[in-house]
């Protein structure tokens, strides 16, 4: 038996450009994350069942108590939940990276000749892919509970893309948290104080005009509300002011600031 064959070794290191290898590395890592998602029942439940539960909870339990002028609550709710669940997905980004770090996998990756950014990019890309699936499920479940978007299909897809893009850019901040946390439990605990005010003190579930004055200012202008307003505007066919552009600007700002921050943290970590 021969465990080694150095004489003939490594004609196999193929001649692709650095960029093509970087893309290949990102996809390899993303693929491995998605396999893990499918194979860990609890993570699949967290990713897919929880959004459905939010839909049912707010549609049937809380919804009756939330009056929305000139509209049915379900048409207000579903675009909001869409934004909320894609943002909640970023918690998975933090937990996943913290776990990889804790288990020493990132250490192994760092000793491989792979692209430096692939571990982070692969993670955010796989979470993006999971969010696509979540959006489809929410749309289907939403329709089943009476959601009727009045905008065009093109506008609906634009709205979904906006939610995905916003969540993707934000997920780099959660990647930073995952890398900074000592373990996955702490990573999860660190994300909630951020994610709750961002998603609940917003226009996702209720009109911000119903909130007390001190909260209203924050809730009106914070990026999640802008995104929720934009997504809702596109889906209902009555675009909400400049929300789309403001949301895109927030997303761009987030990735410009959080991307380098997470990357710098990755260089230090492990």
């Amino acid at each position: 038996m021969s465990l080694t064959s150095h004489q003939t070794a490594l004609p196999t290191q193929t001649q692709k450009s650095n960029l093509r290898w970087a893309i290949s590395d990102v996809l390899t890592i993303a693929r491995r994350n998605l396999l893990a998602l499918v194979r860990i029942p609890s993570s699949l439940v967290f990713a897919l069942i929880q959004p459905v539960m939010f839909v049912l909870l707010f549609r049937y339990v809380f919804g009756g108590a939330i009056p929305i002028p000139e509209s049915q609550y379900v048409n207000y709710l579903i675009p909001g939940i869409l934004v909320q669940t894609t943002i909640f997905g970023a918690v998975g980004t933090a937990i996943g990276l913290a776990e990889d770090l804790q288990r020493g996998l990132i250490e192994r990756f760092r000793a491989l000749p792979m692209a430096r950014m692939a571990v982070l990019a692969g993670r955010t890309v796989s979470d993006f892919a999971r969010n696509v699936l979540v959006l489809i499920i929410i749309t289907v479940v939403g329709m089943a509970v009476g959601f009727r978007p009045h905008g065009s299909i093109v506008a609906y897809i634009q709205a979904c893309l906006l939610a995905l893009l916003f969540a993707y850019c934000l997920s780099w901040g959660f990647a930073f948290i995952g890398l900074a946390a000592p373990n996955s439990e702490t990573a999860q605990a660190m994300t909630f104080p951020l994610i709750f005010p961002m998603t609940f003190a917003s226009s996702i579930f209720v009109l911000v005009s119903t909130m007390p004055g001190w909260l209203r200012g924050f809730a009106t202008y914070q990026p999640v509300s802008e995104t929720a307003d934009a997504v809702r505007g596109l889906m209902s066919g009555t675009p909400h002011g400049n929300s789309t552009w403001i949301s895109l600007a927030w997303a761009a700002g987030a990735i410009l600031v959080l991307g380098p921050l997470a990357t710098a943290r990755y260089r230090r970590a492990a």
Binding site: M1, S2, L3, T4, S5, H6, Q7, A9, L10, T12, Q13, T14, K16, W21, S24, D25, T28, I29, R32, L35, A36, R39, I40, L101, Q102, R103, G104, L105, E107, R108, F109, R110, A111, L112, P113, M114, A118, P182, N183, R268, A269, A270
Partner: protein, 351 residues
């Protein structure tokens, strides 16, 4: 002395030709703003095509050394070349020429054995066709074919280590870093892993291995250095090290500490080194086990002291440490700098 030279021809201009697989000069690594010196002026010359051992207790700096040589961490000062490539200036070339496996057995639990090897092959930028056949070949050779399509969560400790080692071998690297490859393994798995390492070295692979076990160093390593608190405290062949210690440890246990003290005095002269008294146990390092034991028994018998027990054993790492440093390896453990080298991060895999 044959591997590596023709390897990755394009990159050869970056290489410094070296007779050694690893040349590390005056490596210093500090943590916590210089408070902890995990490595303190360590120089290593690892020859090609043999196993070179880094022997030391937890916290002696072994893992930090491996992390520096495998480009995971930069040294605070000093230089190192691996397969002729500088670890700081040309980390990618170093990464292409090494395999890393270790006590943490960093396999992806949610992937199958086969998928793990495919992933590592792909991240090593190897051709898909080659990776597929190489993965199958390695699974076969490491006795993991039956488990190839099970997720690694279901693997035993020994199976994980073998898969971890297989992953390090996917790219056929001329140099392997093995960080405590058998720590925590049962005796049979340890034997299996030793046999694999020996086969690899016969095939021309160079290995830098860290271990806490003298037995392991003795079995595998031609040459070794002993690390303590980040410093090299001894180096040479394992035979030289053992000879300097005396070959065998004669351990006598008495029924009381008073008897032990008296016994130790009576045994003077049997060993060239002073006896080590620990409670009711007296230990001597001796050249000739059986005759020294007989001599010791005779002296104890004449003095009419009752013995609780007598054993002869091969010197352990503790004995090496006691002899070289005057303190036991466990004491070093209390001063462990390992946590610092991990940036304070807790690890489930550690135990």
């Amino acid at each position: 002395m044959r591997q590596g030279i023709q390897y990755v021809g394009v990159l050869s201009k970056l290489r410094v030709m070296s007779d050694f697989a690893v040349e590390a000069l005056n490596i210093v690594r500090t943590f916590k703003d210089g408070e902890v010196r995990a490595l303190d002026d360590v120089t290593l010359h690892v020859p090609r095509s043999e196993v070179f051992g880094l022997l030391g207790p937890n916290g002696s700096g072994k893992t930090t050394m491996i992390r520096i040589l495998s480009t995971i961490m930069a040294p605070s000062s000093g230089t190192a070349t691996v397969n002729g490539f500088d670890v700081v200036k040309h980390p990618d070339e170093v990464r292409r020429s090494i395999g890393l496996a270790g006590q943490y057995a960093t396999v992806d639990e949610n992937l199958t054995g086969y998928e793990n090897l495919r992933m590592i092959g792909s991240l090593n930028h190897l051709e898909k066709k080659f990776v597929i056949s190489r993965a199958r070949e390695l699974l076969e050779q490491f006795g993991l074919t039956d488990a190839a399509n099970r997720t690694c969560k279901t693997y035993s400790g020994g199976m994980r280590r073998r898969l971890d080692l297989a992953a390090a071998l996917v790219a056929n690297p001329p140099l392997l870093f093995l960080d405590e490859p058998t720590t925590g393994l049962d005796p049979q798995s340890r034997q299996d892993l030793w046999a694999i390492i020996e086969t690899l070295v016969e095939g021309g692979t160079s290995v830098l291995l860290t271990t806490q076990y003298l037995e392991e160093a003795d079995r595998l390593c031609k040459q070794l250095v002993v690390l303590d608190h980040g410093k090299i405290i001894a180096e040479g062949t394992s035979q030289q090290l053992k000879t300097s210690l005396g070959n065998t440890v004669l351990s006598l246990s008495f029924t009381s500490t008073a008897d032990a003290t008296r016994g130790a005095a009576l045994l003077e002269g049997i060993s060239s080194k002073p006896a080590n008294v620990d409670g009711t146990v007296v230990e001597l390092t001796v050249e000739q086990g059986p005759s020294s034991a007989a001599d010791a028994l005779r002296r104890i018998d004449i003095a009419e002291i009752t013995l609780a027990g007598l054993t002869l054993r091969e010197p352990s790492l503790d004995d090496v440490f006691l002899s070289l440093t005057g303190h036991k390896a466990e004491e070093a453990l209390l001063l462990s700098t390992d946590d610092a080298s991990k940036g304070g991060r807790t690890r489930k895999a550690r135990s």
